[in-house]
Assembly symmetry: D2
Homo-oligomer: 356 residues x 4
């Protein structure tokens, strides 16, 4: 159903930025998996605010509580309910926008659509919602234990990590605040972000994600092709403006003779410009895609705007905000990729009588 992530394995969530808690329910997670709770908390810690100088300073422990669906450390197959309480809301920071619309935020559209909005911290439109996706994705990752999902920051503003991913050492991604595994580029990125932060400004970036060891056959043409489900998941992330996989927008510039991905006799392909997916189904090669994020909308400068009655106002960002969201979005991208894959992986168990 819409407003749920996933088709068979599914995630339904709730939560507002300054509400009591976030949480969700994971339905149809298979029974019998021994859950590694530390790994889940680790992913949450990667995402959480207040962890470095280049992200928001909101302090939350982001501790997840599992309320059902796990018994004596194993999944039972019944719905997994979880919750993360909000601890460090500073709602006063948002009083000024109770009746005004911040540029490039969802204030105006929520008011128009619903006639009411919890304005504090952006309410439902806050990116804090992604905390729920990390819990679900962390569990999904454990189901797909052979699959390796590695995302990293591939650009910040006009600073690009130019090395192809095959030349990167993903074990280095967590070694710096900006989550770029190329140390040299990471340094430039961090400088830039600090500079931007001092100016009270924000900056955009991109994340590249590489998925290895995906079994062949995952994806459901015609309307749930693997790349389409990934695209939908990513374009649901706050601030995401674009998605491309394999050769992406570059492929649009190429000819067939340049682009075609010839088979070797072991069924691997030569160039993998396909990006590991053909006809909407994984072919066993690395899946790689790139996601674009616009700069965070809240900047600490006055901006021209309007209030709900149509009067011109000035809006200035208060509170604690990220100068650049992409480092924190890395575990979010991985989590969504894991969940999408797990869902289609499970569905794939039902598609061929030869497996019965």
């Amino acid at each position: 159903m819409f407003n749920t992530l996933g088709n068979l394995l599914s995630l339904t969530t709730f939560g507002e930025s300054h509400g009591a808690a976030y949480g969700g329910i994971i339905n149809n997670f298979p029974a019998g998996l021994k859950v590694d709770f530390e790994k889940i908390q680790y992913e949450l810690d990667r995402r959480k605010p207040g962890q470095s100088a280049i992200v928001t300073q909101r302090k939350e422990s982001d501790t997840v509580q599992f309320l059902s669906g796990i018994f004596e450390g194993k999944t039972t197959g019944t719905p997994i309910g979880f919750m993360i309480e909000n601890e460090n809301q500073k709602s006063k920071d948002y009083d000024h926008i109770a009746n005004s619309y911040r540029p490039s935020h969802a204030d105006f559209t929520y008011d128009q659509k619903f006639g009411i909005r919890d304005y504090r911290g952006g309410g439902k439109s806050s990116a804090r919602e992604t905390i729920n996706w990390v819990v679900a994705g962390a569990l999904a990752k454990q189901l797909l234990s052979d699959i390796e999902i590695n995302a990293y920051v591939s650009s910040v503003g006009e600073i690009f990590c130019v090395k192809p991913y095959q030349d990167l050492d993903f074990s280095k991604t967590e070694s710096n605040e900006v989550r770029c595994p190329d140390a040299e580029t990471a340094e430039k990125m961090i400088s830039k972000i600090k500079e931007i932060k001092k100016e009270g400004n924000t900056i955009g970036g991109t994340i590249t994600c590489v998925i290895k060891n995906v079994p062949v056959g995952i994806g459901e043409p015609v309307f749930s092709k693997l790349q389409a489900e990934l695209a939908k998941a990513m374009l649901n992330i706050n601030a995401c403006k674009g998605f491309e996989y394999g050769s992406g927008f570059c492929g649009a510039k190429m000819t067939g003779s340049e682009h075609n991905d010839e088979f070797n006799t072991d069924f691997s392909t030569k160039s993998n410009l396909s990006g590991g997916i053909q006809g909407g189904i994984s072919n066993g090669m690395d899946i790689y895609f790139r996601v674009a994020f616009k700069p965070v909308a809240t900047i600490l400068r006055p901006q021209n705007s309007v209030d709900k009655d149509g009067n011109a106002v000035t809006v200035e960002g208060k509170g604690r905000h990220d100068p650049c969201v992409v480092p924190r979005a890395v575990p979010v991208v991985e989590s969504l990729a894991a969940f999408v894959l797990a869902d289609l992986f499970l569905i794939n168990k039902t598609r061929n009588t030869n497996q019965f």
Copy 2:
């Protein structure tokens, strides 16, 4: 459900390239719309093969028959079943690939996933499936009569239409074979495609789509944001490798002060780098997005490949194929956009008690 397009208004389809017919069922189309059948056939004619020198020469009338759900010219609210018969299959053209895997096609993945595939014409993986989407989208367009959806070819290979869309006259889009409203660029594109075709090669391109007069409030955060539903639909199109909306990948290079989309006192926004969507919901400004297509995989040259038993083979394209698919994909992009919008437009009627 997965393998359906849409959430409330939904399209389920069937058909293989060399099977008896394509067709589909549109569920939950509201009752009472007077159907303009000519407009539907017009959209199908825009998409169909054999219409110009720069597309495939397969001859199909692509005439749609409606089998239910329309009575005395009006929709009844009951399921609309439709069918388009295949007339001009040349299955012999595909005998050679019954057991071989064509590069960058879905032959290998379908065989792996299903253990069986209708190889003729690519079977289910053929882009002829999009004919169904055009029927559904054409009906959806009629439901959204105030909304204007215009797509056009914005690049072919390295030839770009550099004018911003605001400077283009969409009434010119149909005036040339490549569907680029800028006559000068169109000429270059057509030359290029003809050159490519002579070489027995293919070339990629991009399509830009602009949607005007969208009412505010369309889109369902958190998992069915308007941009995400559009992205999923587009990434399901054969050969699509990427999607971006508003500032897209360029936005990732910008700062917040450059990118933020300030409000005017009439609630319109200044730059519309948002692309008409904020917080996943339409804000009344033009929605614009760009879709990337890799070159068509079938080229009329020998390529190295493998057969199902792992033996090296040579595969050479036979049959009738497009040198460049983007002109024919223009009505497909518009149709999908129309259907996604119509679905979310209908859902939006249920989201606010003020409207009851």
Copy 3:
């Protein structure tokens, strides 16, 4: 999605009684099943009109054409589109009700809901829709080859088949027009129906269905329990007024000590008053349920009614109608049971990591 039968394996249908055709699309049927087309046509023949003196005399060949999803006799895993053309519509028989509302029919409610209805033959509300369910159920039966599904007429009016199902020989069900395997009761039922028919009247009845060899574990608590999915399917059949399984309404009169279904050491149960389902999941014992059908609403006598403008009118049934619908509903009940089971059977393949 709603208006679809099934959750993973799904059926979407179209068709109106006097429209061009009925048909449907079966999504996510697994690949690799060798289809027995004769068995499918056999089930359709069991359901079709005009086959005996005690059912409607409308003559249709009810021949199904498969348009996709089956290649060289095997399912491909891609959507299976099928169609059955209407041949013998006598629309003139319905002119008189274009503007009037027949008692106990859907004329009034369709007009109110949709503002428009195809009145001919009842349009979408006609039970001819069930022809689609028989096609889908017949295919589902072939997927569940070990499972035996046998339905039979257990009552017509006040004539009951009093033997418990365990004492019946299901191979006798097809040996008489009323599909009651107890010859003596069948004779009384047939007499009654012929008497009713002569009077231009109709009569209700019930169908009992017994399903043997169901593997343990089928059903998805909490909202898709096996009995609930069966109940929903059955209550969607035209004229169905009730559903009970296992001890049913009788169980409501019993005490726990009388009703409890003790286990034997081989995990079978003693009484099976449970009806083969516990906690919403099959337990391996026979599943048995009973479905109630009201008398067909069209009777060949004048009835008081109203037209769309609120004027009192007299309505008299014309055309060809069943005096008793339950014999023809027997294959419909079996088909729905098969489809529901197949859907939950497939889902069950994803619910336990021990099976992976």
Copy 4:
């Protein structure tokens, strides 16, 4: 999606009987409703254990906390997350069945399906899950403020309330422990239950539900007819064995001339044997249906059973259990009816362009 209640308005739940908490997420509840929290708690109090001598003595406050989706007392249109903590688990009462299968419970089937179960209190299979449905239904009731939904106990064992519902005063339903509005019958029922309880036994019963003031047009043929959605919801209730609406199983004994529901000139119908639904759509007349419940499976007597290794064992109920569940099921039936109606009511806003 399966394992969710509802199609557009949807409820997803979690919780095990002796786990930390129950809870759920209501998706797509429209924005702008002023929530009456007292009414919700009132419905929960009607359902909760420990409230009278004829129900279980487990003590829970059953207080619901809303965690999102409601702001300044009004629904925001965003997901409504809620939670009810478990306070009074006595898990020791269940140690003895950790490895044994209680008759007529879900112990065996859960073990078979999932390979693991939280056995304490029946885990997910406990009827305590219905607490979640009451929260959701109570909110749904507030959305449908004109509609009156009244359920009552119509039989306990062989004691029947013989008065037709039209002769009952529903305001009396809450005036006695057994929730039967006919005082005389109520007295007999209470006596019977007390007697049964003393014997350590349990007894079944039925509930009748009457819904007034339903607008015309609610229900979605062909697969989501109103009666089918109600049937599915009810058959998901623990211990439910049957559902009938309108004339129900009695209608199966009637002839068409007896059963047909003639129209008056104001479009009301004379007999309403239809039960307020025709062609799967509400017709404005009272909707009435009856639900059958088998006796609660846990009885305080030794029963023969088996353990997971196939050894014969004796199982004796410990803990606190209901001798008769139907009084507590009354608010559950009303809640489910409310939710199903609200869902279809919202969907109906999208089905007819005349309303746009």
